[in-house]
């Protein structure tokens, strides 16, 4: 992932940034990768403004809301990101993308990833994982989705009955599992 066109200083394109997760793991990532996370970028830029001398690897950026396991997956996703954001026009490409989205496994994992991506303000990741989660909800019964995501139905029984009647048209022909 070269960004030489943006960065006049070629040496800094390979500069590393150290991120510290909630469980005190240290991650050394390429600047280009770290800059995908707007929260990190903002922090990094603020740091740069504050202290010109403190640059690159000397800065450790704390991410108290992100666990190391999640960050590792986000970074690996980030590295896989295509260079160009070409729109998937044809059907085949859309199918491959769908398959790719399915790889991110359990809903809990996805929620972790989304939560972290949201905290890091990582736009592409948020787009991708949210879509992956949406794939899971699509055309599924209420019971399935509740079970899948551990949502507790907190409506009163009569209330729920009322809504179900009201939104009956939204439940026509959904898969039961």
């Amino acid at each position: 992932m070269s960004n030489t066109s943006e960065n006049p200083n070629p040496s800094s394109s390979s500069a590393k940034i150290t991120l510290k997760t909630s469980d005190n793991e240290l991650f050394e990532v390429e600047e280009a990768v770290a800059m995908k996370f707007c929260t990190v970028k903002q922090y990094f830029e603020d740091e740069k403004d504050n202290d010109v001398a403190a640059r690159g690897s000397s800065t450790v950026i704390p991410l108290p809301n992100v666990h190391s396991a999640v960050l590792a997956r986000l970074i690996s996703y980030c590295k896989k990101l295509p260079q160009s954001n070409a729109v998937a026009d044809n059907h085949e490409e859309e199918e491959t993308k769908k398959k790719e989205r399915k790889q991110y496994g359990t809903p809990g994992d996805l929620v972790d990833l989304i939560s972290a991506a949201n905290y890091l303000d990582f736009k592409e990741g948020l787009e991708f994982f949210n879509q992956a989660l949406a794939d899971h909800i699509q055309n599924k019964s209420v019971e399935y989705v509740r079970k899948f995501f551990g949502i507790k139905g907190d409506f009163e029984p009569h209330e729920e009955e009322k809504y179900r009647e009201e939104y009956a048209w939204a439940f026509e022909g959904v898969d039961e599992d």
Binding site: L126, V145, I151, K152, A170
Partner: protein, 829 residues
């Protein structure tokens, strides 16, 4: 004392012999502002002195003032800085004529006596930001109408029912009027008043009510009279969610003899009955709170009930039924012993948020507490749950779903209930309604009605500030007016991306005309089968992408008007559109970057004749794709920026019969001349055939550096040498579909005697995919390899169907082919 600190607190209990000293403190104290000033005088001081002290505090912009003095300074009622005021003394509160306490948030009156109705009302209504008002043990004997009107008031506590106090007014001869739209908490401990007039208590969350019937009162009037008054009170607080009633209140209610109003909002009820009558009233009370979720029966009642249960069997039965059937959680019910085996069932106390703690902690809103509890429990129980994501993210997730499924999430839980309505994307597809349905189970008419009402309802309930993307796809025929109403909603919602796909048999149908003047529209896709009637006024100032699929153009002028009314249009795609009314297809756009025209389709709109001329004037065009029958003429102007062109032009048989090859050859020449600046050129086999048959002399295309070719069934590579001849600067040659047509066909390659210049001087790269190893293929490859003198990369991919042996054979054969370039790299995969 830290006299320099900004926040100061002076708290003295002054003894008479220290009067002078005390004054000295005030004088020496030199902080610019006083934060808290508390003065409590147990003895009588000269009122002038006390007033002077208070004045000192007021002068220093005191914010919190707590006075326990026999008299107060009139300026007190005009203090701008005062936020908190507590007056706790036995004196008549004479309110001066001019009162304004603009910052006062808390007013606490303890044991003072109100002088009259008007001045009391004036005092309270002169505190515009008053949030908390407490009156405790105050003398009310001069009051006939206690009128509290405060717009910011959140918390009100009135406790006057004191018997043993000199101001006690056992008669409570006044009416209580409250007008407080923001009131959340109300505590009333008093004798029954002469009337209750509560207005605007819409925000009320919690109320604690204790109204006593004094003997003297009952002597005066009958019990029913006062029962009515209590009913008035309950009606006034009917919005309340958390209600605490004392036994006396319940008794008074029972005496009213009339039916209680239904209190729909009450979810928590605490009763603390100390009298048998109150206890007997409990079943009736429970009837009027249909949505109760938690019931706290005070300990006294519990004991009382358990002792007397056999004496009041109807109460016990009613309670049992009620508790078993309707209540989810009961607190303190364990203390009850209703007899054999039932206790355990009734003792199910699922509810964890303790209502009793709420009742003691009067300033805490019960609902907030409950919500916090719920969140806490949810977090604990659903650590992996999706609900921990912020609403913004959940909305984003829903935005990927067709609206049907997004709406379906509304009954997942309360968090999700209204989430879908803020999702900026709407995606309607009537096919989803058919999904999973057995054919014939519902007539299409039913489906249409059901889909229509679905869309209507969603649009009505949707409340995102803007619609970002609106997608409507219908397989059925809907009422034109209805479809247009939907589109209208989208346009009004400042839609940016509009994707419409619906059939319309009504030939007079016109799209909602507001669509053509939408200032917000960036992306428009029309994929429908109807005539595109463009209205007289068109302006799409933001439109960047326009995709037209399967629509039919109405005439030349309106079509051109549409294209030229999009000043920032960057991408235009016209696919499978009906062109039979078009004679001159004119496309122009100052910044149009990508243009696709794909009309060579033989369905109902296909115009095999293609009886129109194509005029293109687009100075910024970089990508041009044309898949069509040969047109009646091409006038391509200004294609200076053209980088890539994909061309497929077919000759239809009826045309050839009409006019000869030569005529169409001329047309090809026009097209080729128009795109002469192109750098990357893709040609299909059919097009090469047309070029060959029309026998035209291609113009030299100096800029073409990349050429991609495919082959058709009949013509093979006969035209390749001529084509290469007109591309003197070609760098790379690609055959992505291989050298042989998929379905076989004639393979024709007549090796020319001569060699095109580009092969000798500049062609660096040849790529052939789907190589099958046929004889003819080797011939062509041999010719290219032999003559490409400066070739640096030669890359061949074999066809997927080949075995490893066949692949090995091919690679051997290819390796032994003679090469014109000494430095060529050969890649086989």
């Amino acid at each position: 004392m830290e006299s320099n600190s900004k926040r100061q607190r002076i708290s003295y209990s002054v003894k008479s012999n220290r009067q002078i000293k005390y004054q000295g403190v005030l004088i020496q104290h030199n902080a610019p502002r006083l934060h808290w000033f508390r003065l409590k005088c147990a003895q009588n001081y000269e009122s002038s002195h006390v007033n002077a002290w208070i004045y000192q505090a007021l002068r220093r912009h005191v914010q919190k003032l707590h006075l326990c003095v026999p008299t107060v300074h009139g300026d007190l009622f005009r203090t701008e800085s005062l936020v908190y005021l507590k007056l706790g003394t036995n004196f008549v509160l004479n309110v001066p004529t001019s009162v304004l306490l603009p910052s006062l948030k808390t007013l606490h009156l303890n044991s003072i006596e109100f002088s009259d109705d008007a001045s009391t009302y004036k005092l309270i209504s002169s505190c515009p930001v008053l949030e908390q008002l407490f009156t405790e043990e105050c003398g009310m004997k001069n009051i006939r109408c206690f009128n509290i009107s405060a717009h910011a008031l959140k918390c009100l506590a009135m406790e006057c029912a004191i018997l043993d106090h000199e101001y006690a007014t056992e008669f409570c001869g006044y009416k209580i009027v409250i007008d407080a739209p923001k009131l959340e908490y109300l505590r009333l401990y008093d004798y029954v008043a002469e009337g209750y007039h509560f207005k605007n208590l819409k925000s009320l969350i919690e109320a604690q009510v204790h109204v006593d019937l004094s003997t003297r009162k009952i002597e005066q009037r009958d019990r029913a009279y006062y029962g009515q008054k209590v009913l008035e009170l309950i009606k006034g607080i009917h919005n309340v969610k958390v209600l605490h009633l004392t036994g006396d209140s319940m008794e008074a209610l029972m005496l009213s003899g009339s039916n209680l109003p239904t209190l729909h909002n009450v979810s928590h009820l605490e009763v603390n009955a100390n009298k048998l009558v109150g206890c007997i009233f409990l079943p009736d009370l429970l009837k009027s709170v249909p949505n109760i979720r938690a019931l706290d029966i005070g300990e006294f009642l519990s004991k009382f009930l358990s002792n007397r249960i056999r004496n009041v069997p109807n109460v016990a039965l009613a309670l049992r039924e009620f508790l078993l059937n309707r209540i989810k959680s009961v607190i303190n019910i364990r203390a009850l012993d209703f007899g054999e085996g039932l206790g355990s069932k009734w003792g199910v106390a699922e509810y964890k948020g303790s209502i009793s703690t709420i009742s003691h902690n009067i300033f805490k809103k019960a609902i907030v507490q409950e919500a916090e509890d719920r969140v806490y429990h949810r977090e604990k129980e659903e650590k992996d749950g999706i609900n921990r994501l912020p609403c913004k993210v959940l909305c984003h997730i829903l935005s990927f779903l067709p609206t049907k499924y997004a709406v379906g999430t509304s009954i997942l839980s309360t968090t999700w209930k209204n989430l879908w309505s803020s999702v900026p994307n709407l995606n309607f597809d009537d096919e989803l309604l058919l999904h999973g349905r057995r054919p014939g189970s519902k007539s299409t008419e039913d489906l249409r009605v059901s889909f229509s009402s679905f869309v209507d309802r969603v649009l009505k309930l949707h409340n995102a500030p803007h619609i970002h993307r609106f997608h409507l796809k219908c397989g059925q025929d809907y009422e034109p007016s209805q479809v247009n109403a939907w589109i209208c909603s989208a346009v009004r919602g400042k839609v940016q991306e509009l994707d419409l796909c619906f059939p319309m048999r009504n030939s007079k149908y016109s799209l909602y005309c507001g669509l053509f003047t939408s200032a917000s529209l960036v992306n428009l896709k029309l994929g429908t089968k109807f005539v595109l009637n463009v209205p007289a006024s068109v302006l799409l100032p933001s439109l960047k992408t326009l995709h037209l699929n399967s629509i039919e153009f109405s005439d030349d002028d309106s079509t051109h008007k549409l294209f030229s009314s999009c000043p920032v249009l960057e991408e235009l795609s016209i696919v499978k559109c009906g062109m039979k009314r078009i004679r001159c297809f004119k496309i122009s756009g100052p910044i149009l970057n990508r243009l696709t025209i794909e009309c060579a389709i033989e369905d109902e709109y296909s115009t095999k004749f293609c009886e129109y001329k194509i005029i293109i004037d687009t100075p910024a065009l970089e990508y041009f794709r044309l898949y069509d029958f040969v047109a009646e003429g091409y006038d391509l102007k200004n294609l200076k920026s053209l980088t890539e062109a994909q061309l497929h032009v077919e000759l239809s048989t009826p045309k050839l019969e009409q006019k000869g090859y030569a005529y169409y050859g001329q047309r090809q020449l026009e097209l080729m001349k128009g795109i002469c600046n192109v750098k990357k050129l893709h040609l299909t086999g059919d097009y090469m055939e047309v070029l060959k048959l029309s026998d035209c002399n291609l113009p030299t295309l100096h800029n073409v550096s990349h050429l991609k070719l495919s082959v058709n069934k009949h013509s093979g590579w006969q035209f390749l040498p001529d084509l290469l001849k007109s591309l003197p600067n070609l760098l790379a040659l690609y055959f992505p579909m291989g050298l042989v047509h998929e379905r076989g066909g004639d393979y024709r390659w007549d090796q020319p005697e001569w060699v095109p210049r580009c092969l000798l001087s500049c062609l660096k790269k040849i790529l052939i995919w789907q190589f099958q190893g046929q004889k003819g293929e080797y011939k062509l490859v041999k010719y290219l390899l032999q003559n490409a003198s400066v070739l640096s990369v030669f890359c061949i991919k074999s066809h997927n169907n080949l075995t490893i042996e066949e692949e090995l054979k091919i690679s051997k054969m290819l390796l032994f082919l003679p090469r014109g370039s000494k430095t060529c790299q050969f890649v086989f995969s």
